[in-house]
């Protein structure tokens, strides 16, 4: 039984990870720490576990691993502290806002001899896994191009504050798809061009729309939209979509398009209810298995860093209006 702690509920994904830990028979949600004590207490109570206010005390507990879901800029320090305490780590995406931070985090975990995983649950979406399988079998032949989106509703809060997020929609919504493409196509990114800006939410200090063009090894061309462009009244939170153009055919994935159309008079709003398999469960199960075996998680810190390299280069491109090299 792997004993896991959750560090920070700043990112709403922590709610799902905590629920997954409670659901998995092979894991135990042992304790919660949060730099926002009220939030930590509330969530610890909600998930039937204990809250520990002091980080040293929390890390001194008999924990095998931790899941870190703080604001982006706090990932590095928390990872370094947890690594020094010998904990296996699953860190929320993006791994950190800068490549330098990512490198330091990866090095800290290496030095401490602990595993570091990046939370890329999209690899566990059933439709994505099915297409990855077909790609590996060569069903579509060589892939030439991809057109992708990771659109979302405006998350608000710290996501929209540069000092805590390190960037806006381009920071938040590039890495999932960057990771999927690296994994599905078995290639690295080489160059990126990006147009972005604060175009939909006048009050915030980060970008809310990014249009990226990437190249991968072998000349694969990629368009990707990283945005918070979905209206508050949109029937769901957003999307992850990929259209792949291959030698033998094309395949489109609309990853969460397993949905009911729900019409609810109480809220006077139409909504899409996703009924497909929960990708977070696959992610957390994979992490727990890595903790148990004391091995590197399947989706590593280096994977997290590779995706951040794309994001960071995209911001540089958006500033210079040039296509720039990645890494």
């Amino acid at each position: 039984m792997a004993k896991i702690g959750v560090m920070s509920f700043a990112h709403m994904h922590a709610l799902s990870y905590a629920a997954c830990l409670n659901e998995l028979p092979e894991a135990e949600l042992r304790a919660v720490w949060d730099d926002d004590a009220a939030r930590g207490q509330e969530q610890a109570a909600a998930f039937g576990t204990t809250f520990v206010a002091d980080l040293d005390a929390f890390l001194a507990l008999d924990l095998d691993g931790v899941i870190i879901a703080s604001e982006n800029v706090k990932h590095r320090e928390m990872v370094e502290r947890a690594a020094a305490a010998g904990k296996w780590i699953l860190c929320e995406k993006p791994l950190a806002p800068t490549v330098e931070d990512c490198r330091a985090m990866v090095a800290a975990c290496q030095t401490a001899g602990v595993g570091l995983g990046t939370a890329f649950p999209c690899r566990y979406i059933p439709s994505v896994m099915a297409v990855k399988d077909e790609l590996d079998k060569g069903v579509y032949g060589e892939i030439y191009a991809a057109s992708c989106t990771n659109n979302g509703q405006f998350p608000g809060g710290w996501f929209a504050r540069q000092a805590l997020s390190g960037g806006g929609a381009t920071m938040d919504h590039t890495v999932h798809v960057a990771d999927l493409l690296r994994w599905m196509l078995n290639r690295e990114f080489t160059r990126v061009y990006c147009e972005n800006g604060r175009l939909l939410r006048p009050g915030i200090d980060v970008d809310d729309v990014g249009s990226l063009h990437m190249e991968m090894e072998g000349g694969v061309i990629v368009s990707h939209i990283a945005s918070w462009n979905r209206a508050a009244s949109f029937p769901t939170w957003g999307d992850v979509t990929l259209e792949l153009i291959g030698e033998k055919g094309v395949v489109s994935v609309d990853a969460f398009n397993q949905k009911l159309h729900v019409y609810d008079d109480a809220g006077m709003r139409a909504a899409w209810d996703y009924w497909g398999g929960n990708p977070d469960l696959g992610l957390v199960r994979g992490f727990v298995a890595a903790v148990d075996a004391r091995r590197e998680p399947d989706i590593t810190g280096v994977d997290g860093m590779k995706a951040v390299e794309v994001t960071v280069a995209a911001y540089a491109s958006a500033k210079s209006h040039h296509m720039v090299a990645i890494g």
Binding site: A145, S147, Y193, E195, G197, H213, I221, S223, N229, I245
Partner: protein, 326 residues
């Protein structure tokens, strides 16, 4: 008004009908293919003509419609303008800006009217989207994504697969979206593009474009001639206070024909019938301009701008860097 049509196949035949619906009379059908000219002439009770420049000079022709492959557009515009005839020209206006400028100069000199067939401006769904935007229903628009295309057009030996003629999916197909985006959001500032052309097979093209408008709006345009079948248009418009989306696959009619036993699967044909064809609406617009009762919705300058954007996208795809519009 009497119409002479040059290029009497897919678009030419359709324009004969649409122009007649709008009150013109087709009197001459010209094509380098005698067969195509004859077929069209028979259908519309017109005369078949082999020499298309001579068609422009006929006394009974008031207006010339140019529906030939793209690189031949401008020479026929010049011939028609030289003969003092008004011209309807299919999009894209030309293959190069140089030939377009010569044609525009000829039109200007002759004092005739030139109308470019940017028909998407007349598509009912695009009209409805523009109306919502213009009415401020979704606030300031920050982002638009368009998607257009499907199967590679034309036959195996068709002119579309000759890159130097068609300009691929960028100049032939998403030029529609570039024009519409400029129509709605104003002039572009910068464009960046990628495509498959020249790297892969002649009969696959796929274009990925981002256009930054002067107003700040980011437009992402995807064009495909890479699909084994079908045709699809999708639009996503995101504003400060809401969104509008369109997807042509959500059509009101979808039919499948039962083919003879053992002949394999049939094709699914989605359809979105409208009361008046957008192609007829563009002819009505042109006819109104000719009659002096309205200003045209598409100007020659608009036609030139559309090609300018598409060619800039092709240049960007070639250099790997954005192209600025000044």
């Amino acid at each position: 008004m009497n119409l002479g049509v040059i290029g009497c196949n897919t678009m030419g035949l359709m324009h004969c009908q649409m122009a007649e619906n709008a009150g013109l009379k087709v009197v001459a059908c010209g094509d380098i293919s005698r067969d195509n000219a004859r077929k069209a002439a028979r259908k519309f009770g017109a005369e078949a003509v082999g020499d298309c420049v001579a068609l422009c000079n006929r006394d009974d022709v008031d207006v010339v419609a140019v529906c030939t492959p793209t690189p031949t557009h401008t020479e026929y515009i010049q011939a028609a303008a030289g003969a003092g005839k008004h011209v309807f020209c299919e999009k894209p206006l030309g293959r190069t800006l140089e030939t377009i400028d010569e044609a525009l100069a000829a039109v200007e000199r002759a004092g005739v009217k030139l109308y470019v067939g940017h028909v998407v401006r007349f598509f009912q769904e695009f009209e409805a989207m523009k109306a919502r935007i213009d009415a401020g229903k979704i606030g300031n628009v920050g982002f638009v994504k368009t998607y257009r295309g499907g199967i590679f057009p034309g036959g195996k030996l068709g002119w579309f697969s000759d890159w130097n003629m068609s300009g691929g999916v960028t100049l032939d197909t998403i030029v529609h979206d570039m024009d519409w985006l400029r129509y709605v959001f104003g002039d572009p500032e910068r464009i960046f593009a990628q495509n498959l052309k020249r790297v892969f097979s002649e009969r696959i093209d796929y274009a990925l474009v981002t256009m930054r408008m002067k107003c700040g709006t980011i437009c992402n345009i995807v064009g495909t001639w890479a699909h084994p079948s079908g045709f699809r248009v999708k639009v996503d418009i995101c504003g400060e206070r809401g969104m509008v989306t369109f997807d042509s696959s959500e059509a009101p009619v979808s039919a499948q024909l039962r083919l003879g036993a053992g002949s394999g699967p049939s094709t699914i044909v989605p359809a979105s019938p409208v009361l008046v064809s957008p192609y007829q609406l563009e002819w009505e617009d042109f006819a109104g301009w000719l009659a002096g009762t309205r200003k045209p919705r598409v100007t020659p300058e608009d036609g030139r701008w559309a090609v300018r954007m598409a060619l800039a996208a092709l240049e960007s795809a070639e250099t790997g860097q954005p192209v600025e519009f000044n």
